[in-house]
């Protein structure tokens, strides 16, 4: 696709744009001018955009997510999740000057310390694209684990670390040979990697909590890797936390900050009115604090949903946090935050009044702000407005957006794109507490079990289901109560989730369009040609069998393929498989679809089975959930191997 770079405005304005966006040859000369004129020019600059792409039918939405800055700071590299490409933006002109196609659904990017290579994690291809920053071409494709996301390169540019979300580990790749030399066990949903300033450590965070005991508070971890030994040396536990995103480390290495979610999934969601659904917060640890301290970002009546990225200024005075669901970047006074954290005698993680002591600003930005990037002098903060296809530029002296870089994505808003914006926006929930994406992180799930309805504590606990490839799986909800997605997303969401009147009919239609279009992620257990391995073949035979091993016919309704039939492996009916609990109002549950069931542990309607094995080894004593008690252990393993291929 050709890219026509259009410039707007007069020469004078262009020069002013250079001052705003760029890093002039003589920084000292321009610094004073910049500070003096920044605010005055902010309004003007906002109106100025460098249109990077023609708004034609060929145009695509880009969804910028992560950024990196060249060593000379003349190029801003922008990784676009929907565009499957990386853009090189001229920081002086704001124009997209180069593009390079990468793999499918890129989710992470890092620049090598020598500035010569960009690495992009192609989450749906299980690869990393290595880009030469001079030629801006992909020069090598490296193999990773399942669904790579975050990346980090060691200080010697010799080793690449890749966080693999679905294999829950970190690939260690020798950049000389391009070969993965080992995997390190991380936590569930390993997604983001951050090296310490000296490069001795790498911090890995996870979007899913550990699979712990049923109905216990979620727990996540920050996995700490020693780059010298290339092993995991510590795991910082984050209690009552699920969903941890980016981390930042102060220049002195003494303060580590991770953006995180504190879900209150053990109490009925009726308590949204009491601010008791999600806590948007930070985990802080390191030499500056004692242990791990969790500090809230929210206010008493206003929430800053889905904290995603964190940036600490070089002077360690300020901390910026993007709130992906709230179209804002929060500004935190680090000195005040540390003082408050140290002086508090009780945990402050749930204290909504706490943030007033250290949050000193909220900067409105674009839709679904994700990645943050500070210039090396800390004067500019770039914000990737993922669902606006733009980059906001914040003047950190005044904490205002002084300009916006239009990356040139498609301008016509389709129903799909509008629906995506709705899905990721928290503005419809009471006090802006959360969005669909809080529970369906990156349009998947959250690994949690929720007490959704106001029917008493601990009644009708439900596991959060995956929402990929939903067409044909109606009705929805574990009790099958919602005949279609419009009901699911509309009245149900208003009543049980958001506790406020939410979408109008047009918005609801857009949201349904988006949700129903979420695709099936690549299945990693199928061979490339689609054929089955011998264990998978044996498992398929067990799945499809009509007789037990001693020849006794299995009643049709108790054969696997009866309930799990059709292209999505659900007959879309209700069934009692004996997994109901006394706290369930009905033992009848909606037969879940099985595509990519391998990734969505825990299992059963209430998430009580921590693994697929437990569905049958623990929760099927009377052969009510298919006949499995005649199977030997290796045969059950075969059945599971087959299910993983669906």
């Amino acid at each position: 696709m050709s890219r026509r770079l259009l410039r707007h405005g007069s020469t004078e304005v262009t020069e002013k744009r250079k001052a705003l966006f760029g890093f002039p040859r003589s920084r000292r000369q321009f610094a004073g001018v910049f500070v003096a004129t920044a605010i005055a020019l902010a309004t003007l600059a906002l109106a100025i955009t460098a249109k990077a792409r023609p708004d034609s039918d060929e145009a695509r939405y880009l969804s910028p997510r992560e950024m990196a800055l060249s060593l000379d700071e003349r190029r801003l590299y922008v990784m676009c999740e929907a565009g499957d490409e990386v853009l090189a933006v001229d920081t002086q002109s704001g124009a997209v000057v180069k593009t390079v196609a990468v793999g499918h659904v890129p989710r992470g990017m890092t620049l090598s310390p020598d500035g010569k290579k960009l690495y992009v994690a192609n989450s749906w291809d299980d690869t990393v694209s290595e880009i030469n920053t001079s030629s801006f071409k992909v020069i090598r494709t490296l193999t990773t684990g399942f669904e790579p996301n975050g990346l980090a390169v060691d200080t010697e540019n010799k080793t690449l670390y890749v966080a693999n979300r679905l294999s829950n580990d970190v690939s260690v790749i020798d950049l000389g040979s391009g070969q993965e030399i080992k995997r390190l066990a991380a936590g569930r949903g390993a997604s983001y990697l951050t090296p310490s300033p000296a490069g001795k450590l790498i911090y890995c965070t996870h979007i899913y909590p550990k699979i712990g005991a049923h109905r216990t508070a979620p727990e996540s971890e920050v996995t700490i890797i020693d780059t010298l030994r290339q092993v995991v040396i510590d795991r910082k536990l984050l209690h009552n936390v699920a969903g941890v995103f980016h981390t930042a480390v102060s220049a002195d290495g003494k303060l580590v900050v991770s953006a995180q979610l504190r879900p209150h999934n053990l109490v009925p969601l009726a308590h949204v009115e009491h601010g008791w659904a999600f806590g948007d917060s930070l985990a802080i640890f390191g030499d500056d604090v004692n242990g791990v301290v969790q500090v809230p970002l929210d206010e008493l009546e206003k929430y800053f949903a889905m904290p995603y990225d964190v940036a600490i200024t070089p002077d360690k005075k300020k901390l910026y946090v993007s709130s992906a669901g709230s179209e804002a970047v929060s500004v935190i006074d680090i000195r005040k935050m540390l003082a408050y954290a140290r002086e508090s005698n009780v945990p402050i993680a749930n204290d909504l009044s706490a943030s007033a002591n250290y949050v000193v600003g909220r900067i409105p930005v674009g839709r679904n702000p994700k990645g943050l990037l500070l210039s090396r002098d800390g004067r500019r903060l770039f914000v990737a407005n993922r669902l606006d296809d733009s980059i906001a530029v914040i003047d950190t002296a005044n904490d205002v957006v002084v300009s916006s870089i239009d990356l040139g994505g498609k301008k016509d808003m389709t129903s799909l794109r509008r629906g995506e914006r709705l899905f990721y926006s928290a503005r419809f929930a009471f006090q802006g507490q959360f969005s669909c994406a809080n529970c369906h992180i990156d349009s998947t799930f959250d690994g949690l079990q929720w007490d959704l309805e106001p029917d008493g504590f601990g009644v009708d606990i439900v596991d959060n289901r995956s929402i990929e490839d939903l067409a044909g799986t109606e009705p929805f909800k574990w009790n099958g109560g919602n005949p279609n997605m419009a009901t699911e997303c509309g009245p149900r969401t208003e009543k049980f989730f958001y506790r406020s009147q939410s979408y109008n009919s047009a918005e609801l239609a857009d949201l349904v369009t988006y949700v129903m279009a979420l695709p099936y992620r690549p299945n990693r257990y199928r061979l490339p040609g689609g054929e089955l391995t011998p264990p998978q073949e044996r498992g398929k035979a067990i799945f499809e069998r009509t007789k037990t091993k001693n020849g006794t016919p299995i009643p049709e309704a108790n054969q696997c393929g009866y309930c799990h039939s059709g292209p999505k492996y659900t007959n879309t009916k209700l069934a009692d498989v004996g997994s109901g609990k006394p706290t369930d109002r009905s033992p009848l549950i909606d037969v879940p679809q099985l595509p990519n069931v391998a990734y969505s542990a825990p299992y059963l309607h209430d998430g009580s089975a921590k693994s697929m094995e437990e569905i049958w080894t623990v929760f099927n004593p009377h052969d009510t959930h298919g006949v499995t008690n005649d199977l030997q252990k290796d045969e059950l393993n075969d059945l599971i191997e087959y299910l993983r291929t669906l």
Binding site: F146, V232, I233
Partner: protein
């Protein structure tokens, strides 16, 4: 003179002049011929100084750290202190039977009476027969081969792929394993070997993925009719594969196999203090340590050394048996904690010894 020939005492009753001359000859010969076998100063750990339990099934050296698998928890000795991991920490079971270190990742894998645990930077992940594809909860042996974790369980062998989470089970239905009580496992660059209690040794070829069994040509009898014509006995307890040499421990003697020839070791024709061997652990193609119920034995390819508390008096004891079957007592001040030895591991020139009554650190003296 520190080394005194045992044969000397046997000739003490002969006429004095002749005896003196003969004794001198023997003494000189014995002194000259006594092999220079490793000597240790033994430091012993029990519950009195922090070990979680005195019954130590196995020991694992992890750099400067020592892991002790005991009947009541997993002990970690580091910087002079013991830390104990229990079921409260997530350990699969209190009784830890086997240990393996993944040298690439630093993770320690522990086979227990209740499943398999991975200890990774303080976090313990547990795999058992209910929550995973593990074949059985009683995990007698564990070994690491690249990304695979092989386990020897009471119901066959399991292989866990740490990259994909997939399990492969090996038992009587897909291998020549006619008994499924697997007791030990060892891996090399090309082969995986299993000690199958009552069914000899199983060999897995990593390249071809084929299994082969090695059995006692005498069958299940305890009489050795055909020595050196095959595995010494079917009741195998341990295997060690180093430098393309397979060493096998059984309750009725031990074997060494170079891929073509077998060589067996029995008390009657070797320096083994007992045929009842719990573990064999090789250093290289020619040297190995044998953990028996009557002491710890070292074989250097020619000579033997035995380290133990005296079986009657409990006094520290070390003796050397040379190629001519001459036995020389070595005066020692210390000994391993108990003569019932279950396993060893090496820390440079030092050795750590798991016994039924404590853990011992053999500090090399010469």
């Amino acid at each position: 003179m520190r080394a005194i020939s045992c044969q000397l005492s046997a000739i003490c009753k002969v006429p004095s002049r002749f005896a003196l001359a003969l004794a001198l000859v023997f003494a000189v010969k014995a002194f000259a011929a006594t092999p220079d076998m490793p000597r240790f100063r033994w430091e012993n750990f029990t519950t009195a100084n922090g070990l979680p339990d005195n019954h130590v099934f196995t020991v694992l050296v992890d750099g400067d750290r020592i892991w002790a698998a005991t009947e009541n928890g997993l002990g970690l000795y580091e910087n002079g202190k013991w830390r104990v991991f229990t079921t409260a920490d997530g350990l699969a079971h209190r009784a830890v039977l086997s240990l393996a270190l993944d040298k690439r990742t630093g993770d320690v894998w522990a086979g227990t009476m209740g499943g398999l645990s991975r200890i990774s930077a303080g976090r313990i992940d547990t795999f058992n027969q209910l929550n995973s594809g593990l074949s059985n909860d009683v995990v007698y042996g564990v070994a690491i081969q690249g990304d695979y974790v092989w386990t020897a369980t009471a119901a066959g062998a399991s292989r866990y792929n740490t990259r994909t989470g997939q399990w492969s089970l090996f038992n009587e239905r897909n291998t020549p394993m006619y008994e499924i009580w697997t007791y030990g496992v060892t891996v090399g660059p090309d082969k995986v070997y299993y000690a199958v209690w009552g069914a000899g040794v199983l060999e897995y070829d990593i390249k071809t993925e084929h299994w082969k069994d090695y059995n006692d040509p005498d069958g299940e009898t305890e009489i050795v009719l055909f020595k050196d014509q095959g595995l010494i006995h079917e009741i195998t307890t341990s295997v060690s594969y180093v430098d393309s040499i397979l060493w096998v421990a059984t309750y009725f003697g031990d074997s060494r196999y170079d891929g073509r020839n077998w060589h067996n070791f029995l008390t009657k024709d070797s320096g083994l203090p007992s045929n009842f061997t719990n573990q064999v652990k090789a250093i290289d193609a020619n040297r190995a340590w044998f953990s028996t119920d009557k002491g710890l034995a070292y074989y250097d390819g020619t000579n033997w050394a035995v380290y133990r508390p005296n079986l009657k008096t409990g006094a520290p004891e070390m003796y050397v048996r040379d190629a001519e079957a001459n036995i020389t007592n070595i005066a020692v001040d210390t000994a391993p904690a108990h003569n019932y030895v279950l396993a060893v591991d090496f820390q440079g020139d030092d050795i750590w010894v798991a016994t039924a009554k404590g853990l011992s650190h053999g500090i090399r003296q010469k």
